[in-house]
Each structure stands twice: as structure tokens, then as C-alpha cells.
């Protein structure tokens, strides 16, 4: 059943959507257009001289090994953040779903990390793992004999950034998974139990497939988060270092543009990132339209 109100008036509908259109144009399309325009400009370091160079900035990027390295780091980083983030939050959601006493308080506490600003997350994890004063780094060294020094070791730095990013995002995933779990009718689980399925089999054959639309949505959201939302964490923890070992693409945009003063190249990188996000979003909508109703 669809109820439709039709306007005979020609201008009123346009007037009604005008504020939305203005906001979209001013705050989304204008900056994006500027970014694309900028990506075709070459500017000297002092901003005195600007030249239009067509796609030269892009061509430079695709010949730059540092860019490919950053892309590879981003792939590893976002893959790890998405997989770890989803797996851990699903585990937490399954556990929380079983809690009966104090469930509300338990859930509320699990949501707290999401309220912590990314930069603070970075500082927090930086403190814990600081090679000289961090308590976790100290414990690793003195109790397990494991030297953890993210300031010097690139691999460890990447692991630390992944953990911090996952920790910050887990609450969000958790909420969606929990809502997904709670929307599965209890009788389905009971029917499976009577059919002879133990808890493990019930999870993999009934619950997991029914959660898959939620899971896919979260996968896309998490990848986008890993691409963009983690800037603050990286900035506060490692600033892309050591030796660019944690320089993910979005951080390279910032580094090249605002530190390297290569505004054109930085804008070109932004344009590529935007294309990736558009692609991801299209995939998500396509898939969800097809798959969300099993």
C-alpha cells in the first residue's frame, strides 16, 4: 500500500527540497569539484605559480612506488581491521545475547569505546604500549621477554594501529550484530535444537546465515572506516611511521598535501579514494537489494 500526495503546484515541491539541495551542493559537491579541479593543478611550493596539467598528477602517482607501498599497507590494514573487528564484535554480541542478568549495563559498557574520539584512542594505546613507560610494553618485556617497540619496529607499529582502530570500532559492530541476533526469532533456534542441532551447528547453519546481511553491511562500513576514520588513530599513534610503515592512503594524502605541500598530488590521491568509496557503496547497495531478504 502506497499513499501518495500529489502537488498540482509546480514550484512548491522544488522549494521544499531546496534546503537539502543547497546543503548538498555547498558542502559536498562544491568541495568535491574543487578537489577534482585541484588534482589537475601543479603548484609551486610557495603557492605563487599554478599550472593546469591535466592528468599528470595521476600519472605521477601510478609511477610512484611509495604510492603502491601505501596502497598495500592500506589493504593489509583495512583487511585486518575489518576481519578482526567483525569477528571480535560478533563474538561479543553472541556472548551478550546470552546474558540475562544485568544485560543492559553490560551492553552499555560495551558501547563506551565508540564514544572515545579517535585521537584519544591513539593517545590511550600509545600510552599503554609506549616502549619506555607503557604498562603493556613493560609487561610484555618483563613477563614474557617480548620486546614490543612500535616506535622502531614497523610491523609492530602496524599491529598496534590495527588493534587501536579495531578497539574503537568494535562497539559499533557489536550494536548491529546484537540487534541482528535479537531479531532472529527464538523459535528458529528452538526448532533447530529439536531437530538435533547442538549449539555450534545452530550457530553456523542458522544464526550465521541469518546474520550475513548485517555482516556484509558492516564489512563495507568497516572497510570505509579503515580507509578514512582511522586517520586520527594513526596521527596520534605513529604519524605514519616508523619509516612510513603505517602510512595508509588517507594519511599519505595529508602528509603529501599539508607537509609536502604537494596539493595537486594530494588532491589526486583524494580523488582515487573517493572513487573507491563510491565503488564500495554501489557494491553494497547492489548486494543488499539482492540479498537482504533471503
Amino acid at each position: 500500500m502506497e499513499k501518495r500526495v500529489t502537488f498540482d503546484e509546480k514550484t512548491l515541491p522544488y522549494l521544499l527540497v531546496l534546503p537539502q539541495i543547497v546543503i548538498t551542493l555547498v558542502f559536498f559537491f562544491w568541495p568535491s569539484a574543487q578537489m577534482i579541479w585541484q588534482s589537475m593543478l601543479l603548484e609551486d611550493a610557495f603557492g605563487g605559480n599554478t599550472r593546469f596539467v591535466w592528468f599528470e598528477n595521476f600519472a605521477h602517482l601510478f609511477q610512484d612506488p611509495a604510492y603502491y607501498r601505501s596502497a598495500a599497507i592500506t589493504a593489509v590494514f583495512s583487511g585486518a581491521v575489518a576481519v578482526l573487528g567483525l569477528a571480535l564484535s560478533l563474538l561479543l554480541a553472541v556472548m551478550a545475547d546470552r546474558v540475562i542478568k544485568g544485560a543492559t549495563a553490560y551492553k552499555a559498557f560495551l558501547v563506551w569505546p565508540y564514544a572515545v574520539a579517535p585521537a584519544v584512542v591513539g593517545v590511550l594505546w600509545g600510552f599503554l604500549f609506549n616502549p619506555s613507560v607503557g604498562i603493556v610494553a613493560w609487561a610484555l618485556r618483563n613477563l614474557f621477554g617480548y620486546e614490543f617497540n612500535y616506535v622502531l619496529n614497523g610491523g609492530q607499529a602496524l599491529v598496534l594501529v590495527v588493534f587501536a582502530a579495531v578497539w574503537s570500532q568494535i562497539s559499533y559492530n557489536f550494536l548491529f550484530f546484537l540487534a541482528g541476533l535479537q531479531s532472529i526469532p527464538r523459535s528458529l533456534i528452538e526448532a533447530a535444537a529439536i531437530d538435533g542441532a547442538g549449539p555450534g551447528r545452530r550457530f553456523w547453519t542458522i544464526i550465521f546465515p541469518l546474520l550475513s546481511p548485517t555482516g556484509f553491511f558492516l564489512l563495507v562500513v568497516n572497510v570505509i572506516y579503515a580507509f578514512f576514520g582511522t586517520f586520527g588513530v594513526v596521527d596520534a599513534l605513529t604519524k605514519g611511521g616508523p619509516a612510513k610503515a603505517t602510512e595508509i592512503l588517507v594519511f599519505k594524502v595529508y602528509n603529501d598535501g599539508f607537509r609536502g605541500q604537494d596539493l595537486g598530488g594530494s588532491a589526486a590521491q583524494s580523488a582515487i579514494l573517493m572513487a573507491i568509496v563510491i565503488l564500495l557503496t554501489v557494491v553494497q547497495f547492489r548486494f543488499i537489494e539482492r540479498k537482504v531478504h533471503y
Partner: protein, 352 residues
């Protein structure tokens, strides 16, 4: 196929509130038992305790003389049909029906044979590749039944399986379930709040109220001799008329002033509720009914009226007798149709 025994079965959730207050019942092999009662009476809880979905607080339940109190649902060898069907939405009808068999590691050919046979019985053969969402309510109901029968369990449990269907389909499925149960001869426990379902399907029924089995018996026994006021009012449609009165000094009951006074052997002065079913009243005789409302059902006419002492009374007349509102209608009861209950305890005292 099996017997099911309940011995002093109790259920409480932590506190003092007992939702099931000691049920004793022996269910014979192949019997169709209906548990009927108003919502909140504990009937579904009792069924779920048999299924193993609720812990048993006290007493014991045995299936085929094996106590199952501490067995998981999967080890009890029962199948259950849920009110919302509980079909797995991401599986086809075939996968839904074969799920339990696959878990038990049955061979592919035997699974196929069983599913096909069940689908044939239930006439859902052409839907085996569909997903549940592509089926109508009645078809989903059949698939849920199919999932139960392919397992060839010791007992079927039904938890209000027809309440999500429309009235016409409900009547049809009611007959089909009953036939199917006869054909397969599997012991069945069926929970419903609908007394018509209870009366038509049951070999024996349990009328439950507030966690207590008020009466256990065949439908006709329960209808003819309800053991409590609750059962008398719950079973039968339209509901039995109740008139509160006292035993007079000569041992008779004064009804409608003194117009009708059946003789009883009860002590004078005792508070008694007399009940009479609307269908056991007919025109002519000593009760004087002021007609207030007439409902025409085609085959029957339901007359809502008041006696001269102001008590309301429903009379069921043949469809060709149509009094008009405002009329006075003389009414009489069939012999022995009066049910007597103790007003305080609600217990049955006999007939008059």
C-alpha cells in the same frame, strides 16, 4: 510412537510463583491429547517442558518410560510444530524438511525418500525448491508439519499451530492434522486456546487454568460433566449460563424466583451456582425471558435475554424460531440439563 507420562510436573521461575502446579497425566501410545486453556494458563510452558525447551522444576516427564528431565531436546526424539512455523528462512522447503535428518547423518537416498514421501502426503511436492517466504500461510504450515513427520519421531508436539491462519484454512488444516495423526498413529500433544479445536481434535483433553489441570477427559466427558465452574464456562460455545442461587429449606433450588425448582439432595442454605448450556434450553415452559438481543446465525438463533429476577440468560433456538427484541419468551430446560456447582469452591456437585 510412544507413551508420555507426566508425574507431578511443576514449574516455577525462581520466585514463589508456580506457573505449573503439579500435572499428572498418562498419555497412551498413539493418543491425540489437546491441552486447552486461556492465555497464561501454562499450557505452552507444559508443552515446552515435554520438548525440553524449559527446565522441569519438579516431578518428572517420561517418554516411552524413559525419564527425560535432564535430556536435551535433540535426545528426546520428539518433533514440534510452532505457532509461527519457525521455518528456516534461508533454506528451501527441501532443506528445511531434511535439516534434522542431515544432522543425524542419514544417507542422501534415504533423506530423499523420506522428504518425498512426506511431501506427497502433505501435497507440497511442487514447492520443494521454494523458500518459505514464497509460500502462503497454509503452505508454510504444511512444511512445518512435513519437517516434523520426516523425522518419524516418538511424539509430535503442536504449539498453537493454526492460530496464524485465517478461519477457513484453520478448519481445513484442523481436519488434515487430525487425519494425518490417525494415519501415522503418532502420539501427539496439541496446545490451543481454541475450544472448538480442542473438542474436535482431541482423543482426550486437558483443560488448564492457572497452572492446574482442571479436568482431564474425552471431549464428550468434559462437555457433559464439567468438573468445575471454570471448565463449564470455558468448554462449549456459546458459553454455559450461570445462575447463582441458594438451596431452599426443602432442598430445592429457586431459579427465576421460584418458577422452576429442581429437587436436590443438598443442605438447605448452601450457595450453589447452577449452569445450563444455551443449547439445552427450548421454548415453552416455566422460565420467563425478556428478550434483549437476537443474533441470527442462520442455522441457529441466539437469544440474549433476562430472567424476571434480572439475571441474564442466553438461549439457543433453531434458526426458524426468531423472537424479536422486547418480546417475552417462555423457556424450559431439558431434563437433567442443569449442572450444579458449589459457588465457593467451583467444584461440580451433580446435575438436576
Amino acid at each position: 510412537m510412544a507413551t508420555v507420562s507426566m508425574r507431578g510436573v511443576r514449574k516455577s521461575y525462581g520466585g514463589a510463583l508456580e506457573v505449573i502446579q503439579g500435572i499428572d497425566m498418562e498419555i497412551a501410545d498413539g493418543e491425540f491429547i489437546v491441552i486447552v486453556g486461556p492465555s497464561g494458563c501454562g499450557k505452552s510452558t507444559l508443552l515446552r517442558m515435554v520438548a525440553g525447551l524449559e527446565k522441569i522444576t519438579g516431578g518428572e516427564i517420561a517418554i516411552d518410560s524413559r525419564v527425560v528431565n535432564n535430556l536435551e531436546p535433540k535426545d528426546r526424539d520428539i518433533a514440534m510444530v510452532f505457532q509461527n512455523y519457525a521455518l528456516y528462512p534461508h533454506m528451501s522447503v527441501y532443506e528445511n524438511m531434511s535439516y534434522g535428518l542431515r544432522i543425524r547423518g542419514m544417507s542422501k537416498t534415504e533423506i530423499d525418500e523420506r522428504v518425498k514421501r512426506a511431501a506427497g502426503i502433505l501435497e507440497i511436492g511442487q514447492y520443494l525448491d521454494r523458500k518459505p517466504r514464497q509460500l502462503s500461510g497454509g503452505q508454510r504450515q504444511r512444511v512445518a508439519m512435513g519437517r516434523a513427520i520426516v523425522r518419524e519421531p516418538k511424539a509430535f508436539l503442536f504449539d498453537e499451530p493454526l492460530s496464524n491462519l485465517d478461519a477457513k484454512l484453520r478448519v481445513q488444516m484442523r481436519v488434515e492434522i487430525k487425519k494425518l495423526q490417525r494415519q501415522l498413529g503418532v502420539t501427539s500433544i496439541y496446545v490451543t486456546h481454541d475450544q472448538v479445536e480442542a473438542m474436535t481434535m482431541a482423543d482426550r483433553l486437558i483443560v488448564m487454568n492457572k497452572g492446574v489441570a482442571e479436568q482431564i477427559g474425552t471431549p464428550i466427558e468434559v462437555y457433559a460433566a464439567p468438573s468445575t465452574l471454570f471448565v463449564a464456562g470455558f468448554i462449549g460455545s456459546p458459553a454455559m449460563n450461570f445462575l447463582e442461587t441458594r438451596v431452599s429449606s426443602d432442598g430445592r433450588l429457586a431459579i427465576d424466583g421460584a418458577a422452576l425448582s429442581p429437587k436436590t439432595g443438598l443442605d438447605p442454605g448452601r450457595a450453589v451456582t447452577v449452569g445450563i448450556r444455551p443449547e439445552h434450553l427450548a421454548t415453552g415452559g416455566g422460565l420467563d425471558v425478556q428478550v434483549e438481543l437476537v443474533e441470527l446465525l442462520g442455522a441457529d438463533t441466539l437469544v440474549h435475554g433476562r430472567l424476571s429476577d434480572g439475571k441474564s440468560l442466553v438461549v439457543r433456538l433453531p434458526g426458524n424460531q426468531v423472537p424479536t427484541a422486547g418480546d417475552r419468551l417462555p423457556v424450559q430446560a431439558y431434563d437433567g440439563a442443569w449442572h450444579l456447582f458449589d459457588t465457593e469452591t467451583g467444584k461440580r456437585l451433580g446435575t438436576a
